[in-house]
């Protein structure tokens, strides 16, 4: 059915272009552009009926202008035809959404890696100066990422108590510290924990496997887990432990890759799922409100300047891009 849905794009495109071939006029041009954009959107979003209907809504409102005697109403009839086509797309996508099976990308057959070995193969150095530089780069890279999230849920409030799962070399905790937010870092790798303590001795950093529990002195206002959930095998345990460690009214904020093939195939990824799965998982674990957002970041640009690390609010299927689902779950 998904293939069929993709087949609709060239099919409709050929219908439209065939249609236009009869008498091409300037007023048709915006529709062609809009449709091509939509086609790209459709490919990048996979099955996102909400986007389709949002576009339809735009066309609909535009059609409403046809009741204003002057101005935009001139082209609304053709727009109406496009509204119809988008509406039909939306129906197909609703059908696919309603009848699709939850993607099963849980890989219990994979063997858990040695996390120490995994990290050090990536870092390739134990020199303190290099590690500090690495950590500072991470912080730079995360700055727009956290800015994007901060617009949805407050992160930089100094009264908050924050716990981060899977801090690695500490990009996020460094940023939090720069904003004077009390934060505790953690990781499953003992080697990384000891390295991080050397890099940032002033930040609490503990060894923690979220699947078995979060050492708790007091409940937290925020628990972060950026690009961590996909590495876990016992998701139910992990989400329950997160829930228990949060204050009432506190937020879990995390990201996890969208199930594109190049993310699914990574050897350390055990659970790569779409947003529906995550919403359902967190809701069933007792969170009162769970929202997800698509989030994509382009490669390389952040090296020129951190501000070029744009966050695109869509899923982008290309390799090299970070295309992830932002999960914000309230206890």
């Amino acid at each position: 059915m998904i293939l069929l849905s993709f087949a609709l794009i060239p099919l409709t495109a050929s219908i439209v272009f065939g249609d236009l071939a009869g008498a091409f006029s300037y007023s048709d041009l915006p529709f062609v552009i809009a449709f091509v954009l939509y086609g790209i959107f459709h490919i990048s979003q996979k099955i996102r009926s909400k986007t389709t209907f949002a576009i339809s809504l735009f066309f609909l409102i535009w059609m409403g202008f046809s009741y204003i005697p002057t101005g935009a109403g001139v082209v609304t009839e053709r727009i109406g035809e496009w509204l119809f086509l988008f509406f039909v797309y939306g129906l197909v996508q609703i059908h696919l959404e309603l009848h699709k099976h939850t993607p099963s990308i849980s890989r219990r057959d994979k063997i858990q890696p040695d996390w120490d070995e995994y990290y050090f193969s990536k870092v390739q150095t134990r020199q303190l100066e290099d590690l500090i530089r690495h950590s500072a780069n991470h912080a730079l890279w995360y700055s727009t990422w956290l800015g994007y999230i901060n617009a949805r849920v407050p992160l930089y409030d100094t009264r908050l108590r924050v716990f981060e799962i899977g801090s690695g070399l500490g990009g996020v905790i460094t940023l939090m510290q720069q904003h004077n937010v009390p934060v505790t870092g953690s990781d499953v790798s003992p080697g990384i924990v000891s390295l991080s303590k050397r890099i940032r001795p002033d930040i609490p950093y503990i060894l923690c496997n979220v699947e078995t529990g979060i050492p708790l002195k007091h409940p937290y206002d925020r628990i972060f887990a950026f690009e961590v959930l996909e590495h876990l095998t016992k998701l139910d345990n992990a989400v329950t432990n997160i829930y228990d460690a949060l204050k009432q009214g506190g937020y879990f904020v995390g990201t996890t890759p969208y199930p594109y093939r190049h993310f699914v195939d990574l050897p350390t990824h055990f659970n790569v799922h779409g947003p529906d799965f995550w919403r359902q998982l967190f809701r069933s674990s007792g969170f009162t409100s769970v929202v997800t957002y698509p989030m994509s970041l382009p490669p390389f640009l952040w090296r020129i300047h951190p501000k070029l690390n744009f966050v695109f609010p869509v899923y982008v299927p290309f390799k090299g891009w970070i295309s992830t689902t932002l999960i914000i779950a309230k206890k």
Partner: protein, 628 residues
């Protein structure tokens, strides 16, 4: 909440009573609707007129008889029209309310507050949709605005309960409103029922998970055909008879090309604006409020799409394509190809013919979406949203609720209102016509196709089918169309003021009397339509100076050998004094062969009615026995 529903239904029923002043009526148009004035006489005349050419019109007999009974009770034509319209509005609302309630919670006996709100709002929104067309001089098939949802609901109940009483209700409704189930109502029938039944079957099998009661539906189908045989048999005979106009119109390739394909080619761009069905009824600023309806649909589908919403959406999309018939050039081409299917020509005015089914699925999709929007919302939010949609709909259709939809000036007239009170002079003259000896009547002034114009006592005018044929039962020639093959010859003779030829034609047609309306307003205030003569497209008055206006008519008539029989007000009756008078025959001459179709049809209908009564009684007894 049930009290609120009844209150709304009653208010909707009462509203049309304020549309026209007591003693006034809005009659005329293609249907004429003169049965509101004297239903029994009109029914009797129709019954006597058993000709295949009139086979379709014959269907309306039970409705006229029902009106005759109503007339005995209420007496006034004004009240009868108001009751008819009140029923249309309130039953349209109530049927949608019942359908939406059943669709949203089919298994529940007690409906939730949210479902009830969704059902009420949908009912009002549907009334908003159906306010858009057909109210001015409404056609006999206009009752489909409430018959469609009501019969759908009864069918749904019949399929769910297998209770024969629902089938009886359906059959009785279709019988009383059989004009809507006749050949004239075929476009709306063929548009609505295939879609509605398809949706019904999907709903039963997919959502309620019950087997389709094919046996029950088959019995219902047979009883329907049997009960309506009195007009189906003659209509079928007229369709199959290659010599009839109906046959050549439906099956003739020239007719398909000219009246179907060509008509569509010329009109599809103006008629098929996709925004028209979505934003009906009129281009007024408050009409922008209708945007809330599709917006609710989008928000509902975005918030939590349901399988029911998806299925309804598919039917909505199909009907939106059909009602606009103008979606992409390929879509237009596809629709054009459909005309080559015999009978599809009935959908050439696609914007009208598909509108009823479109409005039905539009409102069902709205109901599903509105239910999604208000799901899990606080009670006050649900109530506020419902009141907002109801309020905006009422504000949008307020001119309609004030009765402005029926007070639309006559086509191409000088602002002449169709609302009038009957002129007693006209009625007196018509009663004299009834008593005249044998012979047919020529009605003057001549129009096209066969319309007659008569002013009311206090302004306003009737423009519609012949008053004489409907109210007196006498056959008349009221327009050039009625002359048939003699139309052009008559036109030429009038043009040349050739009295001899005119008398010759009239003698051949057994015309003995002339009914003349000398009211100057009926010509001066109607400069163009309906004075359009054979072979001409626009106002033809100048083409026939002899009958250009009333002064010309008076001078022209003075040249004929006439004897005045009766005069009252502007109405006069003359008898033509032929030199060699023909033998005047009775008003209606129907070949015996044609009569037999009517006899057979009536026989089948009566037998079916008998079977229906027996089955109903059996069902009641069986149910009582089962209970014991």
């Amino acid at each position: 909440m049930r009290k609120v529903v009844f209150l709304i239904a009653i208010i909707l029923f009462i509203i049309p009573f304020f549309w026209v002043k007591p003693g006034f009526v809005d009659l005329g148009g293609d249907a004429g609707r003169l049965y509101f004035l004297d239903p029994l006489t009109v029914a009797k005349n129709l019954y006597d007129h058993q000709s295949l050419a009139w086979a379709s019109a014959y269907a309306i007999l039970p409705y006229e008889l029902a009106l005759a009974v109503l007339k005995k009770v209420v007496g006034s034509a004004t009240t009868m029209i108001a009751i008819d319209r009140g029923l249309q509005l309130s039953l349209a609302f109530y049927s949608i309310y019942l359908i939406v309630n059943t669709l949203l919670s089919p298994a529940k006996q007690i409906r939730s507050f949210r479902d009830t709100c969704a059902a009420i709002v949908s009912g009002i929104v549907y009334v908003g949709f159906v306010s858009s067309s057909g109210w001015a001089l409404s056609l006999e098939t206009h009752s489909q605005i409430f018959l469609n949802p009501l019969i759908f609901y009864l069918l749904l109940r019949y399929c769910l309960t297998s209770n024969f009483i629902f089938a009886v209700c359906i059959l009785l409704l279709t019988l009383i409103y059989s004009g809507n189930f006749s050949f004239s109502g075929m476009p709306q029938l063929a548009a609505f029922y295939p879609h509605a039944i398809g949706f019904l079957l999907i709903f039963i099998t997919r959502f309620i998970r019950r087997p389709v009661p094919w046996r029950n539906l088959f019995i219902l189908g047979i009883l329907f055909v049997g009960l309506h045989a009195y007009h189906i048999v003659p209509t079928a005979a007229s369709l199959l008879d290659k010599s009839t106009f109906t046959h050549s119109y439906v099956f003739g390739s020239q007719s398909i090309q000219e009246s179907g394909v060509h008509y569509f080619d010329v009109n599809h761009e103006t008629l098929g604006k996709i925004s028209t069905p979505l934003f009906a009824p009129a281009r007024s600023p408050q009409n922008l409020l209708i945007l809330f309806v599709p917006m609710v649909i989008f928000l509902g589908l975005m918030r939590s799409p349901s399988v029911l919403g998806e299925v309804t959406g598919i039917f909505f999309a199909v009907t939106l394509f059909l009602v606009s018939a103008n979606i992409t050039k390929i879509g237009v081409g596809l629709y054009q190809k459909l005309f080559y299917i015999p009978g599809f020509m009935m959908f050439r005015s696609f914007n009208d013919k598909w509108y009823y089914v479109f409005a039905f699925f539009y409102v069902l999709l709205f109901a599903c979406s509105f239910a999604s929007v208000i799901k899990n919302r606080k009670t006050w939010i649900v109530a506020a949203l419902s009141l907002f949609i109801i309020g905006s709909t009422i504000y949008r259709i307020f001119p309609f609720l004030q009765g402005k939809a029926i007070d639309v000036p006559h086509y191409q007239s000088k602002n002449v209102s169709p609302i009038f009170s009957i002129d007693p002079n006209l009625m007196d003259t018509l009663s004299v016509v009834r008593t005249l000896p044998e012979g047919k009547i020529l009605t003057l002034p001549l129009t096209f196709p066969y319309y007659q114009i008569a002013y009311g006592k206090e302004g306003g005018a009737y423009v519609g089918g012949s008053l004489i044929i409907s109210l007196t039962g006498r056959e008349d020639y009221s327009g050039f169309w009625r002359f048939g093959n003699y139309a052009q010859k008559m036109f030429d003779a009038i043009h040349d003021e050739d009295i001899h030829t005119i008398l010759e034609i009239l003698s051949t047609l057994h015309v003995r009397y002339i009914f003349y309306n000398s009211d100057s307003r009926i010509m001066d205030n109607f400069p163009d339509y309906p004075y359009i003569y054979p072979g001409l497209m626009y106002s033809s008055k100048d083409q026939l100076p002899a009958i250009r206006d009333q002064a010309a008519y008076a001078a022209f008539l003075a040249k004929f050998p006439l004897k005045k029989v009766y005069e009252k007000g502007v109405y006069s009756l003359y008898e033509i004094e032929y030199v060699n008078p023909p033998v005047f025959t009775s008003s209606f001459e129907v070949p015996t062969q044609e009569k037999q179709y009517f006899t057979v049809g009536r026989g089948i209908s009566i037998v079916t009615a008998g079977i229906m009564i027996v089955l109903s009684v059996w069902e009641l007894i069986w149910r009582k026995y089962k209970k014991k």
